[in-house]
Amino acid sequence: MTRIKEHPILGVYPKGELVEFTFDGQTLRGFAGEPVAMALRSAGVLIHRYTSKLRRPRGIFCAIGRCTDCVMVVDGRPNIRTCVTPLAAGMNVRTQYGVGEEK
């Protein structure tokens, strides 16, 4: 279980409403307002994109919007930093290949 149910210091985490979104067409659930990357990690998704040159997988690295490794195609827009983009119901999240969607 990736989500921490109760933390010894922080207790129970305040979370938004449980919403549905799609990842590469598959329906997943996460909490509204949490970063897209957290909802994906909780659903077991680690690979956010494949790089331009070497086509290597990348995922979360810094988790605070600096390294830009976790970018994906969100609602049709490429290079969206999923670690700092809040999840909203119905979001269309896709694995990024190079600088855009898979051709």
Binding site: S52, G65, R66, C67, D69
Partner: protein, 106 residues
Amino acid sequence: MLERKDLGGYIAAPDDDLIVCRCEEITKGEIRHAIHDGLFTLAEIRRFLRAGMGLCQGQTCGRLVKALLARELGVAPAAVEPATARSPVRPVEMRVLADNQERDDG
């Protein structure tokens, strides 16, 4: 003053294929090659290889490239001039940049 002297022949290292710049996927070997080709400053390495010029603007690899350059040149990392800071320090969409009109609700 920086005399662009010859660093001697390039000797391949076993870890030359290690990625240094994650955004632009630039390897240690490419950077070492560039240094031996006379690119003695971070600015030149950035311009020549795009190392540190990707989406994150060198926030992750800046220190690694600097250390690599210092080692090849035989100087302390602190003696290597860092890359110039540029705005915007975070990526900004053109439509957002274009909309810089004053608003009361800011």
